[in-house]
Structures are given as C-alpha cells and as structure tokens.
Symmetry: C2
Subunit: 377 residues, 2 copies
C-alpha cells in the first residue's frame, strides 16, 4: 500500500485536474469531508449516513430504543441481514436505499449498486439470493430516458445475479425535494443448512482474508463526481459476491464471519467485527491489495483507502487451519483472484484494530467517525 497522509491536503499533483470548462480549476477537498461530529448535535449531519461511528450512534441511541418490540427487546439486526426461521428454513432479509451521485459512474450505476449491494448483504450471512423488491423515489422533472437507463441497468444486474424482482413501488416528490432517482431494494435469501456466518463468531487465531483490491468504488465515484481525471481510469468494483461465497463454502473450511466493507470501508468493517466478537484484529498494511491507480488517487486526494467504500470485495474471518483451502477456492473463482490473507484475529486488545505499517511501525485503525465521501452508494 502507498504511504498515505492521514489528513486531506490540496491536490497539487499534475496528474489531477478538474474537468471544468477550461480544465484548470482546482478541486476543493473541503467539499468531500464531513464536519466534525457533535455528539449533542441537534440535526442530522452528512456523517450520520457514513457507516461509521456517527451512524452507529444514530442506530443505537435513536432507532433501537424506538424500535423495541412488545416485550421490550430491541431485535433490530445489526449484521448485514436479519436471519428469520420459517418451517425449518432460514430466510435472510435485508434492506438498503441507494442515493449515490452521480447515477452513472465508471464501472456501474445506481441500478447495479441497488442489486449488488443488497445481494451482497444477503451473501454475507451465507444466503443464496432469492428475490428483491424495488422502491423508487423520483423527483418531478427527472428525465424519463434516464429513469429507463437506471431501470434497465437494475434489471440487467438482477438477471446477472439470478435474483427475481417481484414487487415494487414508485413515489414522486416535487422538484427540489429529491435528487433525480433514489431507489430502495429489499432482499430475501435462503441460508443453506450448516451455514452460520456471523461477526460474533470471529475468534482468536482466525485468518483475516480480503477477496480483492480495495478502494476502487469510492475513487471511481469521487473522480466522476468531481470531474477528476487520472492517468488510468478507476472503475467501480460493483459486483454480486454470492457466487464467490458459495465457492468458499464448498471448500469445506470453517468460515466464521463474512462482511462486505461498503460505507466506512475496511476500517469500519474490521472495527465492527472486533467490537461484536470482542477480539483484536491485527492487519499488515503491505499485504492489503490495492490497485496502483487507486493508491495514487488516494495519495493525491489525501483519502485513507481503508475508509473508502467498496462494492465488490468481502472480508472473511476463517479458522487458521482452513485458511489455505478457502484461499485456494477464492483464487479459483473470478471474483476472488486477488484474494489475500491480510492479518489475524487476536485475543489482545479486544475491540481494537491495529495495522503494521510498511515501515514496521504499528498504528490503530479507528472506526471512521463520519464520512469522507458522502452519497457513495
């Protein structure tokens, strides 16, 4: 991994331009960062949607107490999907809204994300995706041709992933009260017998595996949104991961936990697993796969690739004795060719994620607070 500054700095690298009318105006990193969070803020901040500490605070302090069940439980599932039992079957159930801007970006669109994001949340509990609902909130005045392109992309992604679109809803809000197209997908999947992937099952000794190069989605959307151009175009990694997960399962090893590091990136995902399983996580920065252009872009823009959203990568916690066979199965699958072991789960420092840097030092990887890149999915 490249040497990354931890604070945004002005992009002065000549490879970086903003594609304005004259191609010369500088990008302003201040536009990409979230204000410092206020625990006592009286209003919703962008960071509340970032998938980090502020998001967690909103869920834990506002939604969970309000959503307790009749018997006082707060049964809202904090994993990627809830798993419900019905007549001996286990049904995975998960919801996501997509508000990415722009609607189309290198490598994908809001339609792809709406399918793959929800399919992947199902896959992370080991479920085979079954069907999706789609719910659109359209802004008055949105170009119907653009809506058609989004719907076509969504349908194409669903066919590619093998999920059926079985029910839907459309609402329209007056101009100025939306942003073209928002879409929610809610997914149902079936969890095969014997599969039990949960963050809480991660345990000391587990090998931490990442399935591919990180950071591509965030950099692709940001560079498109801001009109930045790099020597090498970066494309979103959006893709469905249930095929890879099934291949990993067939390898026969004991997979304890799976997560896809979307909002908040690898940093948020590893911290959440460390918290949920009360374990430490030690990773080696130099072993984390990242494409050169993505590393360069992060370096230029002052972004931490650990905190950037991915849409086609998973993190697995696998029993040490089974790690090699699971890795072999991943390498044999087209969506896991770049899979790599990046660290271990430890009993030391429960709840803490630590990274050994390229220079041999060690640093703590914190749960991101707000969001560096709002509306990334």
């Amino acid at each position: 991994m490249s040497d990354i500054d931890e604070r945004p700095h002005a992009p002065t690298d000549p490879r970086l331009v903003r594609a304005g009318q004259d191609g010369s105006s500088a990008a302003d990193p201040a536009e990409w960062t979230c204000p410092v969070p206020l625990a006592d803020s009286a209003a919703v901040l962008m960071g509340h949607g970032g998938g980090g500490a502020m998001s967690a605070e909103l869920v834990e302090q506002l939604f969970l107490p309000a959503f307790r069940s009749r018997d006082g439980e707060t049964p809202v599932e904090l994993a990627d999907a809830a798993v419900l039992e019905l007549c001996g079957s286990r049904i995975a159930f998960t919801t996501d809204s997509f508000v990415v801007r722009p609607l189309f970006f290198p490598g994908g669109s809001i339609g792809d994300l709406a399918v793959n994001g929800t399919v992947n949340d199902l896959a992370m509990v080991g479920a085979r995706p079954w069907c999706l609902s789609t719910a659109f909130i359209l802004e008055e005045g949105t170009d119907l041709a653009e809506l058609r392109r989004v719907a076509d992309a969504l349908g194409t992604a669903a066919r590619a992933a093998g999920v059926r679109l079985v029910t839907g809803d459309t609402k329209v809000v007056d101009a100025g009260h939306g942003d073209g197209i928002y879409v929610n997908t809610t997914g149902l999947g079936l969890v095969p017998d014997g599969v039990d992937y949960r963050p809480g099952r991660a345990g000391p000794g587990d090998v931490v595996i990442v399935s591919g190069e990180i950071g591509a989605h965030g950099v692709a959307v940001l560079s498109c949104r801001e009109g930045l151009e790099f020597d090498t175009a970066v494309r979103s990694d959006t893709r469905p991961l249930h095929g890879l997960v099934a291949a990993m399962g067939r390898a026969g090893g004991d997979i304890h936990a799976l997560r896809d590091p979307t909002r908040g990136g690898l940093a948020a995902t590893l911290n959440e697993i460390a918290r949920d399983a009360s374990v430490g996580v030690d990773v080696r920065e130099r072993d984390i796969p990242i494409a050169g252009p993505v590393a360069d872009a992060c370096s230029i823009l002052g972004l931490d690739p650990f905190a950037i959203a991915n849409e086609g990568v998973l993190v697995a916690m696998v029993a040490a004795e089974d790690a090699d066979r699971v890795l072999d199965a991943m390498h044999a699958h087209p969506d896991g060719r770049d899979a790599a072991p990046i660290g271990e789960v430890t009993a030391n420092n429960p709840g803490v994620v630590a990274a050994r840097t390229g220079l041999g030092g060690e640093r703590v990887i914190d749960l991101p607070t707000g969001t560096e890149l709002p509306r990334i999915c």
Copy 2:
C-alpha cells in the same frame, strides 16, 4: 354522499380559510392538481406517483420491460403484495416508500403510515404480518428531535400491529436534496392455508363491500398541509387492517378479492379490479359511507372523494351468498363497524366502473389519471 362537482373550483365557502398570518388569503386549488398527463412526456410528472393511469403507464411501459426475468418473464407482481412459496408456506412480500408532507397530521404521522401501509398491503393478500424492514433517507439538517418523534411513532405503530422491525438502513442526502425524512418499509407476512384473495378472482354477482367511511386520510393531510380549517376536524383513518381481515376470514365466507384504496382512492381500486378480473363494477353512490365533514370538505375544495387516498379502509369482493355473514363479522369488529355493501360485480361492460348517482342517473368512474393530492402517503 354529497353531490360533488367533478372539476376543482375556487373555494369560496366561508367555512374554509387558509391559516396564514392574517388567516385571510385564499387557497389555490391549482396547487393540488397535477398537470394534464402527456403520454409522450419526457420527464417524470407528479402524476406518475398518483396511483392512477400515469402510474400504471410507468410500471407497464418502463419498469416491467426492464425488470423481466432471465427467461423473459415479467414477474413483477401488480397486486398489493407478491406471494412466494417456500417449503409449503406462502410468504407475502411488499414494499412501500413514504414521502407524505407534512410528517405529522391529524390522526397520524409518516411513522404510522410506514407501518400501517405496508401491514395493509400484506393483509390484502390475506397474510398475517410478520416483520418489517425500515430504510430512512434523511436530509442533512433535519431536526434530530423530529426524527426521534417519527421513529417513536413508527415503533409504537409496529408494536400496536404486532410486527417486528428486524433490519434497517439509513442514508443521508445533502440539504436541498430531500425533504426531511423519507422512509421505506418492506414487509413479510404469512398467508394462512386456504386463503386466496386476488383481484382476478372477483366475479359477476359478487357483492362489493367497503369497510368504512372513505376520504378521511386525504382530507386530513390536505387540510393540515394547506392550513385549512373546517368546523369539524378531520383525522386520518390510518390503522392496521389485518385484524379485520382475519375476522372476515373466520366468518367462513368466500372472499374473492381485497384491496385497500390508498393512492387513487376507491376509483383507482375499483378500476384495477375491473381490469384485472375483466368484470364490470356497479356501485350506488348513496350507499358509500362518507363522514359529513369529509363530504363537506370535498364539496368545498372540488375534490372527488372517490379519488382520495384512504389508509384504514378496505374494499372486499365477496360471493353473494356469503356477503351477509362477512358483513356481520365486519360490523362486530372495531375497524369494520361502518362496513356497507356498495354495489355488485357484473358481467356487463368488463373493465368499466359505473356509479348510480343520488339523482338516479348513471356515470362512469374513470381510473384517475394523475393525482389530485400529491405526496399523500
């Protein structure tokens, strides 16, 4: 039912005031109507969200072709909920986004609608509601205290309806690209053995029953939004209807079809059933229950109560020989006390809904085109 003009007219009735600073400025009905639809419109219009002909056109011409399955089917369910088979069980699955403005109105809030609307879509296929997902799209700057009130209302409504909130999502959009709080709920329910309520099962001879007084929700939201005041306050009828549906089922009669006339009102619902079952529907205007203050408000505002959204009323098509026992069961239930037979299904004029007026004439009730009241749910 009151004698209702079919076109909006200026509200000159002295009972109607706009509660402005001086309480004197007149309401402008033009604000409540949708522009005439253009089949070749290049952009999304408010009417595309109205639940009438424009909504149907968008679904049939844009979404269904895009969402066809791998084998070319267009399996998107046009009933209130899709019904899926799993290991001998039938699972109902439905989604709805809620964008009502204002968030709180007499008799309810967006939190109540988000639960009851989805619970009722499950109930209309005869399902017992099981659990819901919740997905919020929040606008940056939204008052957290208001969000808490909405979450509390949603949780309270879920406990009242006996459904669990099991998984969720929160996104934040930048100020100016939302409208405070949008919420999607997606619901799962279980359809009991032997239950088969589908619009297509309505047949000639069926008695058309409405479970209560119509029009209250639309008038309540509109009067709150526009600051109108009437002699008697009108409250939304939002409520979960699965208890009433279960009571109707226990009566043992052959219920063919159930629908809740939300967006597009009774007019849209009856037209959809007439179309789906290729039958005619004849109703008697004077038998349709409507509260005096709602009828008065509609008369003053030039609104057609047939086309106004309801949130706590259902329409049932019941075999003639069983209508009395189903009606008795409805009258014995708190949510069906005002139930009334309002007409019959006929073999004449398939696809046409006709109303016998109070004066003995007959008129066709068309599928509403766009929407008289945008953002009503």
